[in-house]
């Protein structure tokens, strides 16, 4: 119990300290050390799982542990990048290529502080076992990340921040109504003080009133779905993720979207327990397909590579929702896909940050000759592209294939055909953008621009992409075990992941 509190409070307290701390070096040391301690504590949770108490507000279950670990790993990677990035920001002024005016990135203390508070809030989401508490932390993630998005304080990032703040807050307010509807649905359980405690609800899921439960599910799906970027509630996401600084975009896409999905997954578990699995699964399949479809349409004609990555996040959230909606092995696929997508997308956003810094443009048309100008970045960019489109040696292939298998197993042939077709379209759209960027001769760089690739700018992405590659070849037993348990929690039948893994090509 103490360790859980420590995981949540340590980053928040450190963040508040950083907000008022003058020393530049001290703040960066604080950021890195909190990231390392957080990862160590998370690793400790894998070894010794504290018992879930029935009325505990905080707890570690398999889904929470998985998303907490993803968040923690990404945070360490992004904070290493951030330290280098902030150093670079000190040494150069930016020229906004689109609008042609100079701007200076503003206070770094706010940046580091908000990043740490953001970590604390996300940790809170993954460890909350009380729907009310989960809501409070979820809204806190919005508020802590908003100042991060407008770090550069130019027109576009302000516009993105406003949309993000307002749309997410409205969405989350709808999820709060979902909480209250759930409380009404749980009236029959009685026991006033633990109405919204997750484990208590799950234990008595059969007694929940189905009509109120369904209403609660719809409101939470719409509310947390807004945050997660499920179409058609996705409109804030492409703006926020493409205008935020690279490390922030990596955290938003890689860590925050998963956290939002956790809220939906928890109420889905209650629907399954209540015998309403079909209802929630159908909605998840529908929104999943719509999300993949929407992102396919926008990726095909996307000429801005960071926006392309943002739309790709919508696609992958769609795949996760689809996997959970299909049930069976699909849930295993979704769990594995959450890991793969998060690590790959974070790596890609960091690499895109390097490209943006070197070429001072976010448009595909302006970037040429990446292979010559930034060789390591180019390799990572191509590897990330292969992984995000689900190409064979990467684990993404395995998870996307598993979701397809779930569709075929369940007899959803139309869904399977649509899924494959849209993934194909997205592949074509991304090839058209990524390959021309790597080829050709780089433009002449002005002499004052940093052209070399410092270690901080490539090492985090390389490690993240490496893990996805490793998982594609060999999935460690504990990870597989955790995803199996997640799968078992919403499947009546036994998890079939082992069968799928053995058939791996």
């Amino acid at each position: 119990m103490f360790i859980l509190l420590l995981l949540i409070l340590m980053p928040i307290i450190a963040g508040l300290t950083a907000l008022g701390w003058g020393s530049r070096v001290g703040r960066r040391l604080l950021l890195i050390s909190v990231a390392i301690v957080h990862l160590l504590l998370t690793a400790f949770l894998w070894v010794s799982r504290p018992e879930l108490t029935e009325y505990g507000w905080l707890g570690v279950d398999d889904a929470g542990l998985l998303f907490l670990s993803i968040t923690s790993v990404l945070f360490l990677a992004t904070s290493v990048y951030t330290v280098g990035y902030l150093q670079q920001e000190y040494s150069r002024r930016h020229l906004d290529t689109e609008e042609g005016f100079l701007f200076l990135a503003k206070p770094k203390a706010v940046y580091v502080g908000c990043m740490l508070v953001f970590l604390g809030a996300m940790t809170g989401v993954t460890l909350s076992h009380h729907f009310g508490l989960l809501w409070v932390f979820m809204e806190a993630t919005t508020l802590a990340s908003a100042p991060l998005i407008y770090f550069h304080r130019h027109h576009r990032s302000l516009e993105a921040t406003w949309k993000y703040l307002l749309i997410c807050s409205v969405g989350i307010a709808l999820a709060l109504l979902g909480n209250f509807l759930l409380a009404v649905s749980a009236k029959a359980i009685g026991d006033g003080n633990s109405t919204l405690v997750f484990s208590n609800l799950l234990a008595h899921a059969k007694q929940l009133n189905p009509v109120w439960l369904k209403a609660a599910f719809i409101f939470m799906l719409v509310g947390y779905g807004t945050k997660m970027g499920l179409a058609p509630m996705h409109s804030q996401l492409p703006d926020a993720d493409s205008e935020a600084p690279p490390a922030v975009a990596a955290l938003l896409s890689g860590a925050l979207l998963n956290c939002a999905f956790l809220g939906i997954f928890r109420i889905h578990m209650l629907c399954v327990g209540n015998g309403q699995a079909q209802f929630s699964q159908q909605l998840l399949i529908l929104l999943g397909l719509v999300s993949i479809g929407v992102s396919a349409t926008f990726i095909i004609r996307q000429r801005d590579f960071r926006r392309m990555l943002a739309y790709s996040s919508i696609e992958h959230m769609g795949i996760i929702a689809l996997g959970v909606g299909l049930g069976g092995v699909g849930v295993f696929g979704a769990g594995l896909h959450a890991i793969n997508h998060s690590l790959t997308k974070a790596a890609l956003f960091l690499v895109a940050g390097n490209i943006f810094t070197a070429f001072d443009s976010k448009f595909v048309a302006d970037v040429r000759g990446l292979k010559r100008a930034l060789p390591i970045t180019a390799v990572l960019w191509l590897a990330g592209f292969l992984s995000i489109t689900g190409s064979a040696p990467f684990a993404t292939f395995l998870s996307e294939f598993t979701v397809l298998k779930a569709a075929l197993d369940g007899g959803f042939y139309v869904v399977a055909a649509l899924y494959l077709g849209m993934l194909g379209l997205i592949f074509i759209g991304m090839v058209n953008n990524v390959i021309p960027m790597a080829q050709g001769n780089p433009p002449e760089f002005p002499s004052d621009r940093p052209r070399r690739e410092p270690l901080w700018s490539v090492a985090p992405s390389a490690v993240l992409a490496g893990v996805v590659l490793l998982f594609g070849l060999w999935l460690p037993q504990p990870v597989q075990h955790v995803i199996d348990n997640i799968s078992a929690s919403v499947n009546v039948q036994q998890p079939m992941s082992v069968a799928v893994l053995e058939k791996k090509p």
Binding site: G132, H155, A160, V170, L177, T195
Partner: protein, 216 residues
């Protein structure tokens, strides 16, 4: 549930209607403040089984925050960001009012349907329709106004709708969580205010409709 709380719920719906019918920003902030004060009183009328310290605390905190702190923050933002004092809804006033009435009718219809489907608890006849009507009015308000500050007001009205439902139907929500919710909304208004300040400084206006650089 007393007749007094029913009266407050009806007043809440009326404030929604008034809000949609006016375009004066200062007056709108005051009306939302009045709505907040009424919502602060609501928990105090829920003493079904005698005195309840939690409800008293929630009511007082809501009363102070929604009735006084939020309006103060908004007026301060208005002053600092040079917000214009008028905002005309995109659909015009008449259409907006008609739409608002339709939203209320729809809310009462949905509330009635829910009463048929589930056996609602003690006399909560008005709660669900009023909560829905307030929530939808807030959403409508956000969509129909282009000015950033009016959108924040819409968000507050929407949140009020959720609050009505929470207080009347689910007052088991623990005190700590209620306070967390209130704190989040407070910080949201604060951060939105800061964002508005930066928007007005960068763009020289806070007209969201004119912020159209990000699109596909």
């Amino acid at each position: 549930m007393s007749s007094l709380s029913d009266m407050i719920l009806i007043l809440v719906v009326l404030t929604n209607l008034i809000l949609i019918g006016i375009g004066d920003v200062r007056l709108s902030i005051r009306i939302v403040a009045v709505q907040g004060v009424m919502l602060g009183v609501l928990p105090l009328l829920m003493f079904d089984q005698g005195f309840d310290f939690n409800l008293l605390l929630i009511g007082t905190a809501t009363f102070v925050m929604k009735g006084f702190v939020f309006p103060w923050l908004l007026f301060r933002t208005m002053h600092r960001a040079n917000v214009p004092t008028e905002s005309v809804p995109m659909l015009g006033f008449t259409t907006s009012k008609v739409a608002a009435v339709l939203l209320i009718v729809a809310s009462f219809w949905v509330g009635g349907r829910f009463r048929e489907l589930t056996e609602l608890q003690h006399g909560a006849d008005l709660t669900l329709p009023v909560a829905l009507a307030t929530l939808l009015s807030g959403l409508f308000f956000i969509i129909s106004h282009r000015q950033a500050l009016m959108q924040v007001l819409g968000y507050l009205v929407l949140e009020n709708g959720v609050f009505v439902f929470g207080v009347a139907m689910a007052h088991e929500e623990p005190l700590l969580v209620e306070m967390g919710v209130l704190l989040d909304v407070f910080v949201a208004v604060l951060v939105m205010g800061v964002a508005m300040f930066h928007i007005s400084r960068t763009f020289d206006h806070i007209d969201i409709e004119r912020m159209t650089e990000l699109r596909d």
